[in-house]
C-alpha cells in the first residue's frame, strides 16, 4: 500500500516537471488532468475506512480535477484559437531546471521540518511543497492566460496534497466547498479569458499592461 502511494506521488512529481518543460498548452492540460486523477487515487488510498462520504469525495475529486476542469480548459483553448506558449519569460529548459532544483530543495527542507511521527518519511510533504513551487513557476513565467490558470491549478493540487495528512480537519462539506470554489474559479477565469481573446484577439497577458502608475 505504502509502495503504491509513493509511486503515485512520484508520478505527480514527474508530471510537474513535464508541465514545466512543454510549450503545447494541450499537453499541460493533460498533465494537470492526469495529476487530478492521481490525486483522487491518493485520496482513496489514505482513507483508512471508506464510507459513503469518503467515496463521494474521491469521485468528486476525480471528476472535477480530472475531467470537468480540463475539459473546460480545452474548450477555452479552442475558443481562443491558441495552442502554444511561444515565448515564456523563462525558457522551458530553464523552468524545468528550476522545477527540479525546487523539488530537491523541498525534499531537503521537509526533512528539517518538525513533522508528526507517522509522516517523518512520507513523500507527501515534500511533494506538496514541490507542486506548490511548480504552480508558482508557471504563474510567474508564462504569458498566456490559460497557462496561468494551469499554474493556479497546480498550486491548488500542491495544497491538496498537504491536506491529505489532515483528513479529520477537513470535513466532507468543507472539502466539497473547496472543490466547488475551485471549479467556479476556473469557470469564471475561463469566461474572462474568453473576453480577453475577443477584446485583444490574443490571450497573452502582455496585453494587460495598461493599468499602472
Amino acid at each position: 500500500m505504502h509502495a503504491l502511494l509513493d509511486a503515485l506521488v512520484i508520478a505527480i512529481l514527474a508530471l510537474n516537471l513535464y508541465a514545466l518543460g512543454v510549450s503545447r498548452i494541450r499537453a499541460v492540460i493533460n498533465a494537470v488532468a492526469l495529476q487530478g486523477v492521481l490525486l483522487g487515487g491518493l485520496l482513496f488510498l489514505v482513507h483508512a475506512t471508506l464510507d459513503v462520504r469518503g467515496a463521494l469525495l474521491v469521485i468528486a475529486t476525480l471528476v472535477i480535477k480530472g475531467v470537468v476542469i480540463p475539459a473546460f480548459l480545452v474548450h477555452a483553448m479552442r475558443e481562443a484559437e491558441i495552442q502554444h506558449e511561444v515565448t515564456p519569460f523563462v525558457s522551458f529548459m530553464s523552468s524545468m531546471l528550476l522545477g527540479a532544483v525546487g523539488t530537491g530543495l523541498a525534499v531537503g527542507f521537509a526533512h528539517t521540518l518538525p513533522l508528526a511521527e507517522p509522516h517523518t518519511n512520507a513523500l507527501l510533504v515534500p511533494a506538496s511543497f514541490a507542486t506548490v513551487w511548480t504552480g508558482f513557476l508557471l504563474l510567474i513565467t508564462r504569458k498566456k492566460a490559460i497557462m496561468q490558470v494551469l499554474g493556479y491549478l497546480l498550486l491548488e493540487n500542491g495544497i491538496f496534497l498537504f491536506g491529505l495528512l489532515l483528513l479529520e480537519a477537513m470535513p466532507f462539506m468543507v472539502e466539497i466547498g473547496v472543490l466547488l470554489d475551485l471549479f467556479t474559479g476556473v469557470f469564471v477565469m475561463g469566461i474572462i479569458i474568453h473576453h480577453i481573446s475577443r477584446e485583444f484577439s490574443s490571450i497573452s497577458t502582455e496585453n494587460l499592461a495598461e493599468l499602472k502608475e
Partner: protein, 482 residues
C-alpha cells in the same frame, strides 16, 4: 436565526436573478438591504441580551467580533443599496441582472465569513466573495476593466490559496501536538497553548499573507488600485468597506489563536511593520496621483495599514482599530460614491479632465471634499476620533517611534491627497463636449451619500453608547484567551 443571516441575502440573490425587468430590478436592492439590516439587528440584539446563536454543531457562531463587523457591513450594504437604483438608472444601457444578483450573493457570503467558526468553511466563503464580486468589476465591459478583473481574480485566488495552506499548517500544529487535527476555531483557541509553535508561526505567516492579499496590505496590494480604479463606485465601496473587513476578520481569528497560544508578540511585530509599510506605500502613491479612483484605492491601502497597526499596538489601540474599521468604511462610501458621480459627470476620472467639480456638480463636489477632510483625520469627522485613539495609545504605551511615523505618514497623506482633491473640486469646469448630455446632481444619487456623511459626522461628534459597548466587547473578546 443564525441561518437566516446567510439565507436571507442568498434568497434575495436568487429572487434578483429571476426578476424579469432590468428597469425595476435595482429596487430589489434597497428592499433586500433593509430586510438584511433588520435580520442582522435582530440577531445582534438577541446576542446582546445574552442569547447564544450557533448552528451546524458549532461551526457557526455569532460572537462579539463577528457581530460588530457583520452589523457594520449590513449598514454599509443598506446605504449602498439606496444609491444603487439612481446609479443603475443612469446606466440603463447595461444589463444589470448579474450585477444586482451578485451584490446579494457577496453579501450572503460575507455574512457566512462573519459567523464561521470553522476555518475551512470561512475559507470557502472568503474565496466565494472573490469569485462573486469579480463579475461586478467587469460591469463596464472594456479593456481596462477586463485587465483589472483578471488581476483581481488571479492575485486574489492565489493569495487565498496560500491562506488555505496556512489553515492546513494550523491544523497540523494540532496534529503535531498529539491532538486530533482540527480547523474548528473554538477547539484551536482552547488548545492553543499546546499547539506546535513552528507550525503555528508558519501557519500565521501564510494566513496573514493570504488574507492580507485580499485585504490589500502592502506589499500584496498590487491588484487594488486596478480593481478599485475600474469598478463602479458602489462596488468599490463594498470591496473597500465590506470584503476587506471580512479579510481583516479572518486575520483577527488567526491573531486570536496566537493570543491564546501566548504568541501575541510574534503576531504584533508583523502587524506593526506591515501596517507602517502599507501606510507608507499608500502615502507615496497618493502624491501626484492623477486618477481619482486609484487615489481612493491607495487611501484604502493606507487605512488597512492603520487597522493592522492598531491591532499590533494592542491595548486601547485595539479599540481604536475596530472603531476605525467602521469610520473608514463609512467615509470610503462617501468618497467612492461621490467620485462615481463626478466620474459620470465628466466622463473621466483623470485630474487632467476633471476640474471645478464644485461648480459642475456642487453637491457631489462638496461631498467629495468633505469626504477627503474626513478620511485624512480632520476633526470633527469620525476617522479623527479613531486615529487619535490609536495615536494616543501608542504614545501612552511608549511606542514613540511608531507614533511619530504614524503622524508623519498621516501628514504626507493629507498633503498628497489634498493636492489632487483640491485640483478636482476647485477651478473652472471645462466645457462639456457638445451634444453629450450633462449629468447634474440628483436626489437619487446624492441623498444616500449625504446620509453616509451625516453618519461620519455624527460618529465624530458622539459615539453612541450601544456602539461603544459593541466595540469594547469585541476588543475584549479578541484580547482574552478563554
Amino acid at each position: 436565526m443564525i441561518y437566516l443571516l446567510i439565507a436571507f441575502p442568498l434568497f434575495m440573490a436568487a429572487a434578483t436573478f429571476l426578476w424579469p425587468s432590468d428597469r425595476t430590478r435595482p429596487w430589489l436592492l434597497p428592499i433586500g438591504g433593509l430586510g438584511q439590516l433588520a435580520v442582522v439587528l435582530g440577531a445582534m440584539s438577541l446576542t446582546m441580551h445574552g442569547a447564544v446563536l450557533t448552528g451546524l454543531s458549532d461551526w457557526l457562531r455569532l460572537d462579539a467580533l463577528g457581530r460588530l463587523i457583520l452589523g457594520f457591513v449590513s449598514v454599509l450594504f443598506f446605504l449602498c443599496s439606496l444609491y444603487a437604483p439612481g446609479y443603475l438608472a443612469l446606466r440603463a444601457d447595461r444589463p444589470n441582472r448579474l450585477f444586482c444578483g451578485n451584490l446579494f450573493l457577496v453579501q450572503g457570503l460575507m455574512s457566512l465569513v462573519m459567523v464561521s467558526h470553522h476555518l475551512g468553511l470561512m475559507w470557502v466563503a472568503m474565496e466565494g466573495t472573490t469569485l462573486a464580486s469579480a463579475s461586478s468589476l467587469y460591469f463596464n465591459h472594456n479593456a481596462r476593466s477586463l485587465e483589472a478583473t483578471w488581476k483581481y481574480l488571479l492575485i486574489g485566488s492565489v493569495g487565498i490559496a496560500l491562506a488555505l495552506l496556512g489553515s492546513f499548517f494550523l491544523a497540523y500544529a494540532a496534529l503535531k501536538a498529539g491532538l486530533e487535527s482540527t480547523l474548528l476555531f473554538d477547539a484551536l483557541v482552547r488548545e492553543a497553548p499546546r499547539l506546535s509553535p513552528p507550525w503555528l508561526h508558519a501557519g500565521f505567516v501564510l494566513l496573514f499573507v493570504g488574507y492580507g492579499t485580499k485585504m490589500g496590505l502592502a506589499p500584496m496590494h498590487t491588484w487594488k488600485p486596478d480593481a478599485y480604479g475600474e469598478a463602479p463606485g458602489i462596488v468599490g465601496t463594498l470591496l473597500a468597506g465590506g470584503v476587506t473587513s471580512c479579510a481583516f476578520l479572518a486575520i483577527l481569528r488567526m491573531y486570536h489563536i496566537c493570543v491564546a497560544a501566548g504568541e501575541a508578540d510574534f503576531a504584533r511585530e508583523i502587524f506593526v511593520a506591515t501596517g507602517l509599510l502599507s501606510m507608507a506605500v499608500g502615502a507615496v502613491f497618493m502624491v501626484r496621483q492623477r486618477d481619482l479612483k486609484r487615489l481612493l484605492a491607495y487611501s484604502s491601502v493606507e487605512h488597512m495599514g492603520i487597522l493592522v497597526l492598531g491591532i499590533g499596538l494592542g491595548g486601547a489601540a485595539t479599540y481604536g482599530a475596530l472603531l476605525h474599521l467602521i469610520n473608514n468604511g463609512l467615509t470610503k462610501a462617501v468618497l467612492f460614491l461621490s467620485a462615481g458621480n463626478i466620474h459620470r459627470a465628466y466622463g473621466s476620472k483623470m485630474t487632467s479632465d476633471v476640474r471645478g467639480a464644485l461648480k459642475r456638480v456642487p453637491l457631489s463636489g462638496a461631498l467629495f471634499l468633505a469626504g477627503f477632510l474626513a478620511i485624512t483625520g480632520s476633526p470633527p469627522f469620525a476617522p479623527f476620533v479613531s486615529e487619535f485613539t490609536i495615536l494616543s495609545a501608542a504614545i501612552r504605551d511608549g511606542h514613540f517611534v511608531v507614533g511619530g511615523l504614524f503622524l508623519l505618514l498621516l501628514g504626507v497623506v493629507f498633503v498628497g491627497m489634498g493636492a489632487t482633491v483640491l485640483g478636482v473640486v476647485q477651478g473652472e469646469p471645462p466645457d462639456p463636449p457638445p451634444g453629450a448630455p450633462v449629468l447634474r446632481d440628483s436626489v437619487a444619487t446624492g441623498a444616500p451619500i449625504v446620509l453616509c456623511l451625516a453618519l461620519v459626522l455624527l460618529l465624530g461628534l458622539y459615539v453612541p453608547r450601544p456602539l461603544v459597548t459593541l466595540v469594547r466587547e469585541a476588543a475584549a473578546f479578541l484580547e482574552t484567551a478563554p
